[in-house]
């Protein structure tokens, strides 16, 4: 029966043991894509969804209309936060492998997304992140020790032990609570942005999903609402090629770029080199300005590569070539920005190494501090009675009586 099937099953270009092949990626040379005015009509800028906005060239220079012309300080800020994201991830991964936290997810290879976009947004803009946007939380002021305490579910955990590691949130930093359900945050971002417009404020919202999540209904609900009401929102698709073991072709990424998903609704799409810090910043600022001035939503596809496993529970050697990342034509965002800064005379290998050392020390100090608030094996411990808090604004009687009963059982009564 299988031999007769005419069904098309998408396949990645390489599986374990095979030579990585990224020939399917459409690339554009740095500086080759024009930068339209922010009030351009969607129909006039449809080509942005098919090209690839790039600023950093092979020779490490910055080229073209999308170059934000950062000074040395801005470049160093970007590099520092991307590096911190990576150093933090490396340490937390190791900590999970030692059995000291239950779970972790790295953003390895995707750090430009959170950091460059974090820098392009204003503090009053609201972010609705996915689970790989830890860089946003860092950039928006969540202390490393607080992120670690969340991963430890200890007495300083912002979620009071209620969430899996990495599901951070910050009310003061305007980053929404991470959900484990994929894509649910997309319509929230649109609703938040609609409210901002209704109130006459100029804050915008931004949200992030992966390539795989574009297949979820919430993705399409969000795009429809964003288009209908011209909500001031940036909708990002982080195309890191892999949704656990499912390659982006299974979300129809082989058919047409994810950036083009909104065109049928009149939402402009920009396909961006997600590992090009300058391009990501510039495209995001363009979309933010457009939204802020009443131009409505923009869909940004950030083409990148998931450098590590999906999570600590994943083993990518089972489904993709081990060395695939090394062949990824868009490289590593940190390395590319570093080489650009060196080429510009703002940076050196020695300064880079010393910055990495400094950040590692910072992360180590934070981990030391975090453990003081409790670990998986040693106290202090969260009070289990708190698990009944915040289900409702005020606990109804059934929760109060269950809290009492739980404590009685714990006391052996």
């Amino acid at each position: 029966m299988n031999s007769k099937s005419r069904l098309q099953i998408p396949r990645p270009t390489a599986r374990p043991g095979e030579k990585p092949d990224f020939s399917y990626l459409d690339l554009s040379p740095a500086g080759s894509i024009d930068k339209p005015p922010i009030d351009a009509r969607t129909r006039d800028i449809e080509h942005l969804s098919g090209g690839l906005v790039r600023v950093l060239d092979e020779d490490h220079s910055a080229k073209g209309a999308w170059n934000p012309n950062f000074d040395a300080n801005q470049l160093q800020v970007g590099l520092r936060w991307m590096l911190l994201n990576r150093v933090f991830d490396e340490r937390m991964w190791q900590i999970q492998r030692q059995g000291r936290i239950s779970f972790y997810m790295q953003a390895t290879g995707e750090e430009a997304v959170s950091i460059a976009q974090g820098m392009a947004l204003r503090p009053g803009d609201m972010c609705f992140p996915s689970y790989r946007n830890q860089g946003l939380f860092m950039y928006r002021g969540v202390k490393l020790v607080d992120m670690m305490c969340q991963c430890l579910s200890n007495t300083r955990d912002m979620c009071q032990g209620r969430q899996l590691p990495i599901m951070y949130h910050t009310k003061t930093g305007n980053v929404f609570s991470v959900s484990g359900n994929l894509g649910t945050q997309y319509p929230h971002a649109v609703g938040w942005a609609m409210a901002s417009a209704i109130k006459g404020e100029d804050h915008i919202a931004a949200s992030w999903v992966g390539d795989g999540t574009t297949a979820e209904a919430d993705f399409h609900h969000a795009l429809t609402f964003a288009a209908v009401y011209q909500a001031p929102v940036i909708l990002n698709v982080v195309n890191n090629q892999w949704a656990i073991s499912t390659f982006q072709g299974t979300a129809a990424g082989q058919r047409r770029a994810f950036a083009a998903r909104g065109l049928g609704l009149g939402i402009p799409g920009i396909r961006v080199d997600g590992n090009d810090f300058l391009a990501v910043y510039s495209a995001s600022l363009w979309a933010a300005d457009r939204a802020r001035r009443g131009g409505g939503p923009t869909l940004i596809e950030l083409v990148t590569y998931r450098g590590g496993p999906h999570s600590t529970s994943d083993d990518p050697s089972k489904y993709r070539p081990k060395d695939e990342w090394l062949s990824f034509p868009l490289g590593d965002p940190i390395e590319r920005l570093k080489q650009h800064m060196i080429a510009e005379g703002h940076w050196s290998d020695a300064r880079h190494e010393s910055l990495v050392d400094e950040l590692r020390t910072e992360v180590t100090a934070a981990w030391k501090e975090a453990q003081k608030h409790g670990t998986m094996t040693e106290g202090p411990w969260l009070d289990p009675a708190t698990m009944f808090d915040d289900v409702f604004a005020e606990a109804p009687r059934n929760l109060d009586s269950q809290r009492r009963r739980m404590l009685e059982v714990e006391r052996g009564e």
């Binding site: 969430q163 901002s196 209704i198």
Partner: protein
């Protein structure tokens, strides 16, 4: 005091709250220019403008998802889902997001969304316009579930729901929008015009969430029910001559256990009635609760009258619906048990 039907009472609740609180917005399919397929939002867009009474795309998941985001940004959204039968595309947003947002963020984020949706049968609506899915929602902690049985409660409970910082799913039994229904489809329709609960203040008042009400006082048997079946239960008490106490649950979750249990302790007999299917239905939770609270006062097994465990059958509505005959049989069953 004005005489209102349930539609007018619900509309008045919106009007009162939109007037008092500029953060209250309404969204849903056909709610704006047209005023809703059941007219519950009629005139609101003309009065409060199209930025506060928003016609939405046919996308229940989008309506609820967007409402959550609006709530996080300081608005107080009232989302209408045109029929409860259509709420399922938004179910993940309700269960995984709306119900748990406060909990998972330790109270840092919450979204005070009220979801209104017409439910229930008796209107020749077939399986896509007659469902009573309240038990699916009462099983979800973090949301409050409400179903009024009359215009006065509908307005007071809806205002309380809109004011609540917790999310509320507000079920409106559409069979009684225009008048109470005693479960006998052969009788002429009755209006709310002469019903005491059709007297509704025009201004602001609340009926607190979480409080049941004795709809008919009695001594021999307690019928615990809500929505349309409150009226069926009262009619069945008269028809059977059994002195039933009818308890209108009103807020299904959180449940007012004390009012229910006090009544059953007094009568010693308990019948539970709902339109929704029986198996794993909300009545099972009521039965378990009453059994625990009133075991030593019970003189007969707790019994249930509910929709049969089939999809809602269009042509056999009156065999399916727990009307006067089935309710009366249920009363006799509990009275005859030793």
């Amino acid at each position: 005091m004005a005489q209102m039907n349930m539609i007018e009472a619900i509309r008045s609740a919106h009007d009162v709250m939109m007037d008092r609180d500029s953060s209250v917005v309404v969204l849903g399919e056909d709610v704006g220019y047209f005023g809703g397929v059941f007219r519950c939002t009629d005139g609101l867009q003309r009065k409060y403008g199209e930025h506060r009474v928003i016609d939405a795309p046919i996308s229940e998941g989008g309506i609820i998802g967007a409402a959550i985001g609006m709530g996080v940004n300081g608005l107080r959204p009232v989302a209408e889902i045109q029929f409860a039968d259509y709420i399922y595309p938004g179910f993940d947003q309700i269960v995984s997001e709306l119900a748990r947002l406060r909990y998972r963020s330790s109270g840092d984020f919450f979204s005070p969304v009220t979801i209104r949706t017409p439910c229930g049968g008796g209107i020749r609506g077939g399986q896509t316009h007659s469902q009573s899915p309240e038990g699916i929602f009462t099983h979800v902690t973090g949301i409050k579930t409400v179903m009024p049985s009359n215009p006065y409660d509908a307005k007071g409970l809806l205002i309380a729901a809109i004011e609540s910082d917790d999310p509320v799913v507000f079920f409106e039994p559409k069979r009684i929008y225009n008048g109470p229904f005693d479960g006998d489809p052969e009788k002429p329709a009755v209006s709310w015009g002469s019903h005491p609960k059709g007297e509704v203040p025009e201004g602001y008042y609340t009926v607190p969430l979480g409080q049941a009400e004795i709809a008919r006082a009695g001594e021999e048997l307690t019928i615990i029910t809500y929505g349309t079946l409150v009226h069926v239960a009262i009619a069945a008490a008269e028809a059977t001559g059994v002195d039933c106490e009818v308890v209108d649950v009103r807020t299904l979750s959180p449940l007012d256990v004390a009012t229910l249990a006090d009544s059953v302790k007094k009568t010693g007999r308990c019948l539970i009635a709902h339109e929704a299917t029986r198996f794993s239905g909300y009545g099972a939770e009521l039965a378990a609760t009453i059994q625990k609270e009133c075991f030593y006062q019970l003189e007969a097994p707790i019994s249930r009258v509910a929709g049969w465990d089939t999809p809602y059958p269009h042509a056999f509505e009156w065999q399916y619906f727990p009307g006067l005959k089935r309710m009366s049989a249920g009363i006799r069953r509990v009275m005859e048990a030793e």
